[in-house]
Amino acid sequence: MKLSEVKKILNADVIVGEEHLDLEVKTAFGADLMSDVLAFAKAGSLLLTGLTNSQVIRTANILDIAAIILVRGKKPSTETINLAKEFKIPLLTTKYILFETAGRLYAKGIVGCLEKVENNSVLD
């Protein structure tokens, strides 16, 4: 689906990347821990998160994330916004909580960017 449709489903505001709304996305990853994102998120996915600091943008850039959706109506700092502009990563904000955000997108056909994690117990 196009990013413009994601925006509609989530009643989201576009903070950065109005010109990239016809970007195609199929998968998503939701987390508030950047280490979790780094462990599992895939290139080209949507990142849904409740964090708004600049490390969210840096993490997205490291992983080639397609776009970031900030949940719970979070407003990012100017620094975060500027970094998203610099890296050309679309940044949207929705009032919905992560549960609702993920639920709505999943219902419209967006799937998780990974199927399953079979074994994630403490490493040796």
Binding site: A28, F29, G30, A31, D32, L33, D36, F40, L48, G50, L51, R72, I97, L98, F99, E100, A102, G103, R104, L105, Y106, A107, I110, V111, G112, C113, L114, E115, K116, V117, E118, N119, N120, S121, V122
Partner: protein, 113 residues
């Protein structure tokens, strides 16, 4: 809808407090920031997270959550399990990601309400 329905539907593995699977689930909250979960989740919610630290039990108990589901096959720490058993908070484990599991539970809750 009670927890047991969700456990069966998505093949969750119950790690403790199976006696409380009759808990009624009124909604869901997905998140890993404890202060956010304390501020914004509600009583009867099922909490979906990848935090495994024992503090999750205190939060779930405080907010009277129906239970906690750990995603990505994350296992609760020993202290977490001990506390959750004492407080009778069911902890369940899923191999799905937070996004997938949330999507599925959201749809299920929507259907039955």
């Amino acid at each position: 809808m009670n927890l047991e329905t969700i456990v069966k539907e998505f093949g969750l593995e119950v790690r403790c407090a199976p006696e409380n699977l009759k808990n009624n689930v009124t909604g869901g909250y997905t998140g890993d920031l404890l202060s956010d979960v304390i501020a914004n989740s509600r009583e009867g919610y099922i909490w979906i997270t990848r935090q495994v630290h024992q503090n999750i039990v205190a939060v779930a108990s405080l907010k009277e959550h129906a239970g906690i589901i750990l995603i990505n096959s994350c296992e609760p720490s020993r202290e977490t399990l001990e506390k959750a058993s004492q407080e009778k908070i069911p902890i369940m484990v899923s191999s799905l990601s937070a996004f997938e599991l949330t999507g599925k539970i959201y749809n299920l809750l929507g259907k039955k309400d």
